[in-house]
Symmetry: C3
Subunit: 440 residues, 3 copies
């Protein structure tokens, strides 16, 4: 369970040890050991989650057309940069400071305070700086989902302005409700590592943006025809998926929030196993279903199946059995194969399939928690999904419309035809390949 509260096992071990005064000095040393393990878990798992930024970048660079590749690379690095700075300036304290069953934290920038541990009191359980690092790398994930869906037609700076609001305000507010100890947490809503708090939030923001922005020119023809715009570099998309897969061990494993006891490291090991099996289940299920439906295996859908499997298990990677993990991920993979053409049918143009993989599978994963975790219930899980969805859709819509009114959201038709790389960056991602104009 995420949050600043409750690193459980480590603190309990500390308390137990402290009750034996004759061993006070040894005990203090031991608690420092747990403190180091807990902080190390945040750091190691945090750098794995940071690596997911490269995963989203490669996935999206592989799935857009060549004329938009450099722009999507730029956006992904920029949003990761912005997320870190905004979470420092506003986001972290809005999400975690003094929420106390309510709706929102405090408005103040964050500053590390590890003074008590430096003075020899390890009761905090872990370094606050390590915790900030771990929570920070999560923020960019939500924004990366948006960049993929809206690729190839949204203007650069308006998109980045939305990212500023998303990472500084929208994500932290709904995060406060759950991981900050807010009203949903108090009611028993469970989302271990963020099927809803991270992935659905990004997905709702992307969905709202896609509706307001409209589809790419030429994507949908008359009489419901859909013009395929295939990804330009499938090994890059595959690399991106495998990076995400790796990073997800950090995403879910680090969300145990502690590694200072045997119980914690056992939980992390089980989380790694379930995370891997859910991804495998999602990939294989999507493969099989595309073979059945289309008589061919669609690599892009199968990759999204793996991601959907990962999103699905994220709400509860610790409680399912191994078989259940495969099934939970597998259902996620099936959902993505069904959802992607459905969104096309209603003319919502999601360039990389992120709404299906992150929002649809995120909802499924969140609702599936009570199956393996008796501490929550279907009703509160549904309430959490709906409440967070409603808030994110409403807040995002306000922001999207405000930006649209102030500076416009979409490049003009000529520039969309030309491609964002030439229009907004003045360069090409692959100047010497194929139809590239600068081939030497």
């Amino acid at each position: 369970m995420k949050g600043r509260i409750g690193i459980g096992a480590a603190v309990a071990a500390l308390a137990a040890t402290l009750s034996a005064p004759a061993f006070a000095q040894a005990a203090e040393q031991v608690s420092e050991t747990a403190y180091i393990f807990n902080s190390l878990s945040f750091l190691m798992h945090g750098f794995l989650v940071m690596w997911m930024a490269a995963g989203f970048t490669m996935l999206e660079a592989g799935l857009v057309r060549t004329k938009s590749v450099a722009t999507i690379c730029l956006k992904n690095v920029a949003l990761f940069s912005i997320a870190g700075i905004m979470f420092y300036l506003l986001g972290y304290n809005l999400m975690y400071d003094g929420v106390d069953g309510g709706f929102i934290g405090s408005i103040a920038w964050w500053a590390p305070d590890d003074a008590s541990a430096l003075a020899g009191d390890f009761g905090a359980g872990y370094s606050a700086a390590s915790d900030w690092f771990f929570q920070m790398v999560f923020v960019a994930t939500a924004a990366s989902i948006v960049s993929g869906t809206l690729a190839e037609r949204i203007k650069l700076w308006p998109f980045l302005l939305f990212v500023v609001i998303l990472t500084a305000i929208i994500y932290p507010i709904t995060g406060a409700w759950v991981w900050g100890g807010g009203w949903l947490a108090k009611m028993g809503f469970a989302d271990f590592a963020g099927s809803t708090v991270v992935h659905s939030v990004g997905g709702w923001a992307a969905l709202t943006g896609a509706i307001i922005l409209g589809a790419r020119k030429g994507k949908y023809g008359a009489k419901g025809t859909v013009h395929p715009m295939p990804g330009s570099n499938l090994p890059l998309a595959t690399l991106g998926t495998l990076i995400l897969w790796l990073g997800w061990f950090g995403f879910n494993g680090g969300s145990q929030l502690a590694m200072g006891s045997a119980a914690d490291v056992i939980a992390i090991a089980q989380i790694y196993i379930n995370t891997n099996l859910a991804a495998a289940g999602g990939f294989l299920a999507a493969m099989l279903l595309t073979q059945i439906i289309y008589k061919k295996v669609d690599l892009t859908l199968a990759l999204n199946g793996a991601i959907a499997g990962l999103v699905s298990i994220t709400a509860a990677p610790d409680t399912p059995s191994m078989g259940a993990a495969i099934l939970i991920g597998g259902v996620g993979g099936l959902l993505v194969v069904v959802a992607i053409p459905l969104f096309d049918r209603i003319k919502i143009d999601d360039v990389v399939g992120a709404i299906s993989a992150h929002l649809v599978a995120g909802i499924w994963g969140t609702l599936a928690v009570p199956i393996t975790n008796p501490d929550t219930g279907f009703g509160i899980q549904l309430l959490g999904v709906v409440a967070i969805g409603a808030f994110v859709v409403a807040a995002s819509a306000v922001v999207w419309f405000a930006i649209k009114a102030a500076m416009g959201l979409r490049v003009d038709e000529e520039n969309e035809e030309l491609g964002l790389d030439r229009a907004e960056l003045g360069l090409e991602a692959y100047p010497e390949f194929g139809s590239g104009s600068q081939a030497l």
Copy 2:
């Protein structure tokens, strides 16, 4: 030394500490610390080995022709997915449960059991779940070797069916003989991290498949001519090699199976060093030899040289001096430069050079163990190589022929000409590049 037995140092430390009853509580804490370190080693090194899946994918995607790139990506992610599920359903217990000097473990799916540690008894030394995760990621490596060799002409589903058998049955059986504590282990066969148990097993299965499947159309002409079919994306192949290099620190370092004592972490450090130097030696030796033979440096052969260096040191990364590690890896690099054209001469079409890099270097590395490790001998090492080779060739041949009879192994000529991506996946990996038909 791999296996569920013998984490040595940690358990010894525990025993020594427990003999001092006055410090029982502190001692228990200390042993929990070792337990956490040991489990952390499995998890951290395990995620590095998982990352090798991306290494194989990029290496193979870079070395096949563009018309087969998407398919090889799909196969690699699929085989990693399958390996995890099959090792859960059958493989792990077949390899590790109750082998006891024999030939085979038990037939039962695996379930984690860390109850004793949760009850405060850390005598197991590490979390069983963390060990499973680490052993699981090894399985896919063997299968990845097969996918590279047989690329560009084997049908998707028959290949995946072979992977099911390989990861559920063939790999676990020979694994049981060594790491499961079976007959070869009892006789003193030494293979620290799997030159034979992983790499040769994959190589033998690939060799058997390559013979049964035959060469790509047009690869070998009249009078012994070999038509070169160069890799389509060499930076991806380079990336793949560097990913494997990184992952190998996990592969070899984690095979120490413990990190809970100073002796263990010192051993891991030495293993990292030797692994790095062997890769360097293999790369540089292959570079130099191609310069001498061909008057040009062949990047593809040099990359295979690095991989061969890594495979060579894998049987004993802990015992050689640093100079010996360079030489062991260097010989591996030379072997690969010699072996690849030899396989071409006998018309065995190994698309990525995997038989040379994994099987030939794996045999060399296994036979070289006695040079630096006095606990084994040349005779038993040779017996292990031959016995495991014979079993894998025989078992693979049966499976390949059975699949061939049941559903066919090879795409028809027209589809091979067209490329597997269009024939089996209905898409292209790079639709806008070069001769791509969908260039916009």
Copy 3:
């Protein structure tokens, strides 16, 4: 602070604990725990720095033209291989053994000595083998900088010969002055993780080489015109930058040289945070400045901005506040946008912008240390920058001219036109794309 001396907190904790004799046995165990944590930090952070080799390779492969891609891949793997072997044969002891306030260490190959820890005395604080691994992976970074600047016209073997000298002699000598405890260290020069010791050293060697080698044919025209030669694969360049970003957590975090106390892990967490924020500041500052100057955002410059931000914070990632880290990195990003066209104006052809990102930002970062670290001063920082710069320029020039006289440095005009890949390797990086001659 780098070096074999001063792992501070861990040793102090050990000393404090040993003063309580009644707890001697528990204390010894605890010190073994610190020993393991310290060594683990070297190993974990070391593998992250090793991964930077892939970062440089992808960055450079993405920024050169297609006809030089395979060669730059080969050079980067080769230089990483050479660096490891030369640091073993000569470099490490030249840098660290018996420098003692002087200019140079001893001439002897390195051999691991962890015997005292194996005998139960953990006073060394960490495994010498783990330290060697960590220091070794730094060496290649300096050489990677050179390869990027001189790409597309330097011959393969002369370049590699320079790498041998750089990694065996030049880098270790200036390294001895600072991290080896030499004269600059004694005077108070501070360079936590190598803004000068690693990045400027590589930058000076690259600058010297670029002047001696001359620009690529056709790069500079009459009347100061500059012919742009855009990078051939920008998603690869982006991937390379993100790999470097990830690896830099190891580069800076591991340079704390200890993780065995709460104080150390807190410092590492703060270093991770500042490293991330400096990279973000550098990327965003470069983006904004290119938008202002050119009315377009230049992805290549922005990526170099992130790298410059990382280089800038490297001299003192531990002392700045978070806001200061953003600013230090941001200035680095601005400098790179200004410096790259300046070098073009004076006709110094730096193919990937490495001199600007590593040397210019490295000087800035080194001079900025006193702003947040009162233990050093502007005068000594400037002295260090100048002294190391003078030595590296002089030594590099001697080596470059000697190699030029002995075997030539530059390919002939015809081969430069043809491209290094065909001229020196006899192959193409992307044979089937675009203007590739072997498209099937």
